[in-house]
Assembly symmetry: C2
Homo-oligomer: 322 residues x 2
């Protein structure tokens, strides 16, 4: 099945989970968070990875949903920590129901994700749990490093790459690994798929950073949000590490400068980004990572059609399908 | 082994878990929360239940620790929601490190509890996960009902019993069930043990409510804390349901009355409690529940010595060992 067919399966399955009616303030926010949609990349990755080796997708559905519920839990709690008022155009859970409800319904989502995971075929449950637990803890580590970096003036590029690997890539890696375990892949194929997922995840996150500052009309995203929040993206870190003390001062304080309009803030930051060529540097890094991902994928021995569909899917996500 | 020997084993195991060094703000609060101690009732219950049917306690240690780590996660997040500054005489995690750190390190503790659970013998992992997931979700439900009740003037006694069953008893039930599964108990013994644990948990929580208002010099706990917080305990709910509208007004607003000293607040509330004989009513309910617990326990077919030790342990917890 191609990614669109699998996305439909994922949405159908998530929509039919059927949380209890009460207590309302525990379960309605969980449903609200899950119905917000999004691209469902992680569960689709579970299913596409599974599809490389097997074809009874129903076997893999609960684990695919588990990964998506876990991902949405992280967004829910991150939004409290980041004080984010909106997600996908709607009020965040803490903003709509208050912080206590958001904390507790997030907790319920973690537990819900493990309830789904427990539906894996019994002989595979232990390796799947080990993968999921390792990845889940790494995601927490990534979030903590991300918060740590906020209060630091400089962050080494390697520290940043490690942080986004933990916060973003490892959940792609876990999704791909769990799908492969469920499909019965051998250790060598699993190792290649993990390398593919890790490098793809990094390329994907770096592209996200790039598009936020330099835009992509195809996606219709507004440009400069990260700059206005003073976020330490790959571009910001590259610029900070190259900048003079005066420029560094501008990059660090610009977003809090009340005498500037939003457009002026964005323009001032982009001017320094451009001075140090961080756009090209970021594109180079994206290309290098994505090439490594595809090289690892090409080493996987699996059903040819499913392999081609996975390749088409990730090329689409990286905008290489034009 | 008796409960004291098992407590030592639990503390040794928890002390040797060895969380990573970094990120510091993720893992130090986890260790801080776990080293606070407490009676470790839940892991001791896992081990004592296991000991009814088997004797290689090392098999049950990771699951015992999982239940304790989960319990401490609930305390950590509840303390944020309740705005509680102290726990066991020390600053709570949110109070010491801030709310964001408390949210995220609590999340890490849930995941850590599942990592421990995954060390269960592979053939038993699925039933153990199912039990743990069911119980974990019920604990969240109980916490939500508890918060819901804060803003209500009256709560039916049955609603209160249901809430403390979810918030407190089911984790005892889960601890006992997981120990029994690990020990290889049959379905009938598991059912009797679950009834025992549920009724014991209710008796234990009701006793906690009672001691907070009427004290017990053996425990050295200060008296009246629940009254000063305006908490809806079993005693408060019994009094509210019997009281006149004027008395109800006093019970509901007394703790916020700034013209009264703490002693006066406690005295005014206890006067109404005494008028409706809620102390005796609560004692009756405790005795009824605990008798049901012991009756269920006496139906369990298991190693006689271990059964006697479990009975001695719960009698001690209920102050019946004098």
């Amino acid at each position: 099945m191609n990614s669109n067919q699998l996305l439909t399966k994922v949405n159908d399955y998530l929509g039919a989970l059927g949380y209890p009616a009460t207590p309302e303030l525990l379960y309605r926010p969980v449903e609200y968070a899950l119905e917000a949609g999004g691209k469902r990349l992680r569960p689709v990755f579970v299913l596409m990875s599974y599809g490389l080796f097997a074809d009874d997708y129903d076997v893999a559905m609960p684990c695919a949903a588990a990964v998506e519920v876990f991902h949405n839990f992280t967004l829910l709690h991150d939004d409290i920590m980041d004080n984010a008022p909106l997600r996908r155009g709607r009020p965040t859970v803490w903003n709509r129901w208050g912080e206590n409800v958001a904390i507790l319904s997030g907790d319920a989502m973690i537990i819900s994700s493990y309830s789904l995971l427990a539906k894996a075929p019994a002989p595979l449950l232990q390796p799947i749990m080990e993968c999921f637990n390792r990845v889940a803890m790494q995601v927490c580590e990534g979030q903590q490093y991300d918060m740590d970096f906020e209060s630091r003036q400089t962050v080494a590029e390697s520290e940043y790459i490690n942080m986004i690997a933990l916060k973003t890539s490892v959940l792609f890696e876990g999704a791909i690994e769990i799908g492969a375990i469920l499909g019965g892949a051998d250790a060598e194929n699993i190792a290649r798929l993990k390398e593919f997922a890790l490098e793809f995840g990094l390329a994907f996150q770096l592209q996200d950073d790039l598009l936020d500052s330099y835009g992509d009309s195809r996606l219709g995203k507004s440009v400069g949000g990260d700059i206005l929040e003073g976020k330490k993206t790959y571009l910001m870190i590259s610029a900070l590490n190259a900048a003079t003390p005066e420029e560094r001062e501008i990059l660090c304080t610009n977003h809090r400068n009340e005498s500037l309009t939003a457009e002026q803030k964005i323009a001032r930051t982009l001017e320094i980004f451009n001075r140090y060529d961080v756009k090209r540097k970021t594109e180079d890094e994206i290309n290098r990572r994505f090439a490594k991902a595809l090289a690892a994928l090409s080493q996987v021995e699996a059903r040819a059609e499913a392999l081609a569909e996975l390749r088409v899917f990730v090329e689409g996500l990286m905008g290489r399908d034009k």
